[in-house]
């Protein structure tokens, strides 16, 4: 144990994360050895996990500043539908798909950030309210019809397209977080907004920028989502919320492993763990309700064990 404590923070973090990956794989491999966890299966789980990872990495900028976003699902649906329409109906091809989705995502992020900063009400409430509007816009634009991406525009739904797009977003996030003052200010605002303000940081501006960046990443996630699933249905009545869960869980991994200095890496491996558990249950043939219960519990346990809260610290 002393040897472990002497390791660098990042090494400790990687050991914990890789152990969790191995543990979650080993449990299901033991329970269902024939149809789970082969090398090819693991590659496939990893590819599936990349979709949510892209969104989670963008969302990390918002969550690390202490804010939240309930419009993730609505953003993904709206961005995917606009990207699909630009690619298909406006015949803009891949440019339309990528530019349309990412620009829409960023615009949604701008709206979230702008209204949050101007209205000065909690980000959860602002984004929940706006999510209803985004859902309605998506529904209007789709005309109530499922939007299908033509098969010749689905390169980002499989290797190597999905890996390339995801890799580009990871590199961007890594550079922004570690090599720009925006990245430093993200942590500074999350650590103590009052002190950050006293350091001359325009806190409101950087909060809006965080939402824009996060939105753009959800736009990229929308490209991967519609390319992987081939179509997108516009939903209303907050039904888009079901899409919030997986990117948010990945983001929790990032926050929990921030202390090890590897938040982005933790998000990538965290989403992989979430997918291993998810596909493990499918291999077991477990009913959806049981899958959800056990997945939820497993993730709560992982986050609880990896998050250290100081005595007396208020957790909300």
């Amino acid at each position: 144990m002393n040897g472990f404590n002497q390791l660098s923070g990042a090494t400790k973090g990687y050991i914990v994360l890789i152990s969790l990956v191995f543990l979650s794989w080993a449990v299901f491999k033991f329970l269902t050895p024939d149809n789970f966890g082969s090398y090819n299966n693991l590659i496939s789980y990893f590819q599936a996990s990349l979709i949510a990872t892209v969104g989670a990495i963008g969302f990390y900028f918002v969550m690390d500043m202490g804010m939240f976003d309930f419009s993730i699902g609505a953003n993904i649906i709206l961005s995917a539908i606009i990207g699909c329409q630009l690619a298909n109906q406006f015949e803009l091809g891949y440019f339309g798909l990528i530019f349309g989705s990412i620009a829409t995502g960023a615009l949604v992020g701008l709206c979230n950030g702008y209204f949050y900063v101007k209205l000065r009400i909690p980000s959860m409430i602002v984004t929940a309210g706006l999510a209803l509007i985004y859902e309605s816009i998506a529904n209007y634009m789709a005309g109530g019809v499922e939007q299908t991406l033509p098969s010749d525009l689905r390169a980002f739904g499989q290797m190597p397209g999905n890996i390339i797009l995801a890799f580009i977003t990871f590199i961007i996030a890594y550079l922004v977080l570690n090599y720009t003052k925006f990245g430093t200010y993200t942590y500074a605002i999350g650590s103590d907004e009052f002190v950050a303000k006293n350091m001359g940081i325009n806190v409101d501006k950087y909060k809006v920028l965080a939402f824009i960046l996060s939105g753009a990443f959800f736009g990229a996630m929308a490209v991967l989502t519609i390319s992987y699933g081939s179509s997108m249905v516009a939903v209303t009545g907050m039904a888009s919320m079901s899409r919030n869960f997986i990117p948010t869980m990945g983001c929790f991994f990032g926050l929990a492993f921030m202390k090890y200095g590897i938040p982005l890496q933790a998000i990538i491996l965290g989403e992989f763990i979430v997918n291993i558990i998810f596909f493990g249950f499918i291999s077991l043939g477990a009913p959806t309700a049981i899958q959800d219960v056990i997945t939820g519990l497993a993730l709560l346990i992982i986050i609880t064990l990896t998050t250290k809260v100081n005595p007396g610290e208020i957790v909300k």
Binding site: L175, Y179, T180, T184, A196
Partner: protein, 500 residues
């Protein structure tokens, strides 16, 4: 002839009704360590926080090297050549050491929007080496270092750009002797370079040893500026606390016998890092005071008694042997506590006066023995005790957030009086409160004492401890450092000699 670096002219600062600075004017010279001393609340930190852009200036001017400055924030102050090392932790978690050192000044490492992290780390490592702090690594997260090392990082952050003025605000209390020596070394260096240190400290021997000039503030007013070589520690104490007490609003009795009946025993209580091996007894009808410097641990004593400390060891025991280990048990056994941090720890700021008063008594305000609240009982209860405490309000439906500090404190006291508490722990009960409400609170305490209630009063205001308490216990560095019984002969100097 000394050359003036900073002119402070007619500086005024108000926080609501509290006058923190009242027309303060004095000069600070180049190439000196200029100490700023005074009791808590004398205005020292308010003044330097305004100079460093942390608080806006209400009225008055700072003139630095002949140019009037109005710092908008700390970075703006840095750009004018002023920096500060604060008493509390001034580094930000989640950032590396280098990011903390250059926070707000990253531009020099940025090209085309991208920061050259390697260059920034290299520069930070160079500075750390130059300061002799080689063991601290620029690329490590600041969270990896202890409080003292983080203070050393702050020294680098505040001085690497050779500011004209460096404010050191009660920093030494947080440092070990080794850390203090490091700080003194850099104070000497700043002075040798012809720049100025404004040094705030409660440690008078340290002030006399390390400063060239001393300015004394009292109750937000400028008292005097003296040369350190021309004054003794005793004279300084007199200047700090030498005010005449006007108005007889403290207790007038002396020589009254306190009951021998012990209502609370505190045995060997330790809260790691805060208080150590604290033992005392509280008697029926007694007002027991706790004094000391702000960080002496006295505020933790109140929390420890109320079961609100984390990691507490030792015993807090009532006369019947009941052990108080948590807040619920404390309240159930008639112990009340009001925190120094009134807005965050005592009142529920966004609830009504009525809700705040009734909160710990709700279980007695139901329909019979049911679990359903009887709102007419709740309203009657809140109205009764708000009226008894003369809370200035529209009605008990009014939100607490709309009240002044004094009236918020009355709401807190009404809550515990309504609960019928027999042991009341009051931490800084008159903090930020005007004289009239102070008098009301002192009269209430005297009345409670006569009714046989026991009170523990923790305060940074020495005069109110002397004026109100039957006994005063002084804490220093988390340990008991002396006890004084009520007498007309006790003055502030008697307490200060045990505090510093």
């Amino acid at each position: 002839m000394d050359e003036v670096r900073l002119q402070v002219s007619h500086m005024i600062k108000n926080f609501g009704i509290t006058k923190a600075l009242k027309d303060v004017s004095f000069n600070i010279n180049k190439g000196e360590v200029h100490a700023l001393i005074g009791e808590n609340g004398s205005g020292k930190s308010t003044l330097t926080n305004m100079l460093c852009g942390i608080y806006p200036i209400d009225s008055g001017t700072f003139t630095l090297d002949g140019v009037e400055i109005h710092p908008k924030n700390q970075v703006d102050a840095n750009n004018h050549g002023v920096s500060i090392i604060v008493q509390e932790l001034g580094t930000l978690s989640g950032l590396t050491v280098a990011e903390n050192i250059f926070l707000g000044h990253e531009e020099r490492f940025i090209t085309a929007g991208f920061r050259n992290t390697n260059a920034m780390n290299a520069e930070a490592n160079r500075l750390l080496k130059e300061y002799g702090f080689d063991r601290i690594k620029a690329s490590s997260l600041v969270d990896d270092y202890n409080f003292e090392d983080r203070k050393l990082i702050e020294i680098v952050k505040a001085t690497y750009f050779k500011p004209k003025i460096v404010v050191i605000d009660e920093t030494t209390t947080a440092l070990s002797q080794e850390g203090r020596e490091e700080l003194y070394k850099h104070m000497d260096r700043i002075r040798a370079e012809g720049n100025t240190v404004i040094f705030i400290s409660h440690d008078l021997p340290e002030v006399l040893a390390k400063s060239d000039t001393i300015t004394v503030l009292r109750d937000g007013e400028y008292i005097t500026t003296v040369k350190s070589a021309d004054i003794t520690e005793d004279d300084l104490k007199k200047l700090m606390v030498g005010r005449e007490v006007t108005g007889n609003y403290y207790r007038a009795d002396y020589g009254e016998e306190v009951s021998q009946e012990v209502v609370l025993k505190v045995k060997n209580v330790t809260v790691p890092g805060k208080i150590e091996d604290v033992s005392f007894e509280l008697h029926k009808g007694e007002i027991l005071g706790f004094g000391g410097l702000s960080e002496s641990g006295m505020h933790e004593v109140g929390k420890a008694i109320f079961g609100a400390s984390y990691g507490r060891q030792g015993q807090v025991e009532l006369a019947d042997g009941t052990q108080i280990n948590d807040i619920q048990t404390a309240i159930r056994h008639s112990i009340a506590y009001t925190s120094k941090d009134r807005d965050n720890e005592s009142v529920v700021i966004n609830q009504s006066i009525g809700d705040n008063i009734a909160l710990p008594s709700l279980s007695h305000l139901t329909y019979g023995k049911s679990m359903f609240l009887d709102w007419s009982k709740v309203r009657t209860f809140a109205d009764k005790f708000a009226k008894e405490m003369s809370v200035k309000m529209v009605n008990t439906e009014q939100f607490v957030s709309e009240l002044s500090g004094g009236n918020k404190q009355k709401v807190v006291l009404a809550r515990w009086i309504g609960r019928g508490s027999d042991i009341v722990v009051l931490d800084s009960p008159t903090r930020g409160i005007d004289i009239k409400v102070k008098q009301d609170i002192y009269q209430l305490m005297d009345r409670m004492r006569k009714e046989g209630k026991s009170i523990i009063m923790i305060s940074e205001e020495l005069m109110e401890l002397i004026g109100m308490c039957d006994r005063i216990i002084i804490l220093k560095d988390g340990k008991l450092n002396g006890e004084i019984s009520r007498s007309q002969e006790v003055n502030e100097n008697s307490l200060i000699s045990m505090m510093v």
